[in-house]
Symmetry: C2
Subunit: 401 residues, 2 copies
Amino acid sequence: MSAARPPEGARTAGEAEGFPMYAAARTGDAVADIDTPALVLDLDAMERNIARMAAFARQHGVRWRPHAKMHKCAVLALRLVAAGAVGACVQKTAEAEALAAAGVQDLYISNEVVAPAKLARVALLARSLQQRGGRLAIAVDSPEGVDRLAAALAGAQDAIDVFVEIDVGQGRCGLPPGPEAVQLARRIGAAPQLRFAGLQAYHGKAQHLRSAEDRRAAMAAVLLLVRDQLDAFAEAGLAVPLVTGAGTGSMAHEAGSGIYGELQAGSFLFMDADYAGNDTDPAQPVFEHALFVKSQVISRNARHAVCDAGHKSHAIDSGLPLVHRPEGGAPWRYANGGDEHGVLHADDGQPLPALGQAVWLIPGHCDPTVNLHDTLVGVRGGLLQGRVEELLRVDARGALA
Amino acid sequence: MSAARPPEGARTAGEAEGFPMYAAARTGDAVADIDTPALVLDLDAMERNIARMAAFARQHGVRWRPHAKMHKCAVLALRLVAAGAVGACVQKTAEAEALAAAGVQDLYISNEVVAPAKLARVALLARSLQQRGGRLAIAVDSPEGVDRLAAALAGAQDAIDVFVEIDVGQGRCGLPPGPEAVQLARRIGAAPQLRFAGLQAYHGKAQHLRSAEDRRAAMAAVLLLVRDQLDAFAEAGLAVPLVTGAGTGSMAHEAGSGIYGELQAGSFLFMDADYAGNDTDPAQPVFEHALFVKSQVISRNARHAVCDAGHKSHAIDSGLPLVHRPEGGAPWRYANGGDEHGVLHADDGQPLPALGQAVWLIPGHCDPTVNLHDTLVGVRGGLLQGRVEELLRVDARGALA
C-alpha cells in the first residue's frame, strides 16, 4: 500500500522527524494503490510522444529544444536530450538553476531578465555551466537589457549566446519586427561578453486557435514577419545564426518554413485537454495524453459525486479537466468544486462513480498543473493494470524568480 | 541585496550542493530589495486583521477556528491560537500532518476522508496529537465513511470528534438536512472510538455574492436549514454539541445566529481581490489586504509593460489580480500574459511603469495563491519603506492528499 515511507527524492508534507509521513506511491506499487490526488505520468505514452517528436524533427532537419517550463523535471530534460534534443528552454532564472543543479547542461532562458541581482545569478550560472562543458543562453528585447546583461557578465571568460526577441503576434515581450531588432543585435555584438545568437520568435496565442486553418493563417503572418526581419538583417550585412520558437500547436509551420532552425514545443510530451481541443493538422504528429490527475470519490449522493481534486491539484486557466475512463464507460462531466473538490455528473441514466472509486482527470493545461506537484508518479503498463516504475522529482516546481 | 544564501527553513530551487542558490529575500533586507516574483505578507496589516477578528468573535461569544487551507503556515496557525482561536481547520489529511509536524495541536479536517490508506494516517495522526495533549477531529457524510473511520480507529485508546456535514446550499459534500443526518450521528455514537461532535454546515458560494443583501438572503436560508436540522435532533433526543462553519463573506450571519458556535473564516487574515469585491456589510469587520505578489517590469513598449508574474505566481480562478500602487498614482490594469507574465496597461495619458520597476499585485484568491509559494516574505513598515522581518514557511504547500 501507499502510506508510510516517503519516496526517495520526493518532498512530502509531514517530513519533520518523529511524525507520520505519507507518499502518494512507492515504486512497485500497483497503479490502483496510488494515493489521491496524485499526478500520474504514463511512461509508455510519453515515450511514444518523444519518438514521434524526434522523428518529426529529423524529417524536417530542425533542432528541438523542448520547453522545460512545462515538465520542470531534470530527468525528463536529460531523456529528451538522449532522444536527440539539443537542450532545454526555460522561462525563469530559478528554473535554469534548478535544472542545472540536477545535471542539465544546455539551457536557454527564452525570456527577459533585467534585475541586476538576477543577472548576477545568470552570470554565475553561465560560468558554472561553462566550467563543466555546458552553456547558458538568454533572450533580450531592450538596449537597457543588453547593457545590464553585459555589465553582469563583465570580466567573464566566455561569452554567452543572446537572442533578440521579436513580437510576432503574441503582444507581450519582444521588439516590433524591424530596424530596432537589427540595432539591438549590433549592441549585443559590441559587448565582448555577449554573442548575437539569432532571433526568438514565438506566437503563443496561435498555438491554441482551434481550427488548423486559423493556425495556418496566423503562422503565415508570423513567417512573413520573420522573413522581413531576416531581410532587414541581410541588408545590414548581419548574419542571423538561428531562428528559434514554435509550440505544440503550430510547429509544423515553423518546421517546414525553411527559416526556423529550432523548435521549442514542450507540451507534446504530456499533452493536455486544451491542445487536444485543436483540430488535427495532417502536417503534425498526433500526440497522446500522458499526464493524468488520479483522484477518488469522497462523497456521493443521488445527483452527483465529489472527488478530491480541485484547482489546487490541476490548473484551470485553460479550462476544466476532462474525465478519462480507462475502464470504459461514458465519461463523467467534471464541474468546478473549488480548491479541493470536483463535482462529477453522469449522463441521464448512467451510473455515477462509487464512493472511493478512482476518477482520472486530463488536466486542461499541463504546465501550471505540473507546477502544483512535487512528484510525478511514473507508471508503466496502463492506468488499470500497470505498476509504478519511478517517481520523478519536479525539480523546478515553484521556481518563479 | 537578495541573492546568494537561502533563507533558513525555506525551500529554494537550485538547492543541490555546489550550485548557485537563490532566495527571494533575507530578514533585514529592504522591501525594495525583495526579488520577484515573491509573495509578500504585510505583517502590520495582518495583525490588525487578527485583532479585528478576535474582537468580533469575543463580542459575539463564539469560538473561531480559522481555516488553514488558506495560509498553510503552522506559525500563523499558532499565532491565531495565541490571539484566541481554538485551533485550525484543514481540508486534507496531508495538511493536518504538515501543521501537526510543525507544532499545531488542535486540528479539524472539515472534509470527508474515505480511502482506507488515508484513514490509517488519520488514526496515526490522531494518536500522535493525543499523546502530546492535542486533538484531531474530522467530518463525515456517509454511513460507509463512518464505518471506515471506525475501522481505522479500532483499538484506539481515545475517541475522536466527528462532525456530520450537511449541505446547506453549496451543492458539494454533505447530507441533505433531515433525518439522515440524525441517523448518521447515531451511527457515530454507536462506535466506541467516535464521538458525535456536532454539525459541519458551510455555504462556500454564499461568501462571494456581491451584494450584502444577497448574502443575507442566502444565509437566512442556511440558518433555516440548520434550525430545522437542530429541531430534528432535539425531537430524536440527541444533543448537538456544536455547529461549525462560516467564511469571511458571511460570518456576521453565523456569529449572530445563536446556533453557530464556531467560525471557520480564514481569508480575513490576508484578504484578496475577490472578497474585496463584496459590498461592505456594517455587521462585519472591515479587513485589509495583507497579501501581495511583488513583481517587476521585464519588458516595455509604447503600448504596455510586461511584469514577471503570471498564473504560476497567483491563482486566477476567482479573477485576475488587481494592481496596488503603494507609491500612489492610478492603478495599472493587469491583463493575463500566461503562466509567467502579466501585461500592464495604463489609463490614457498615464505613464506605464519603467523597466525594472516594482509592480504590486493583490491576488484574486488568496488560498490557491499561497499554495504556489514555498515562503511568505513577512514585512513590517509598509511596502515602500519597510524591511523584511521574517520568512514564513508555507508548511502545507502542495499537501494535497
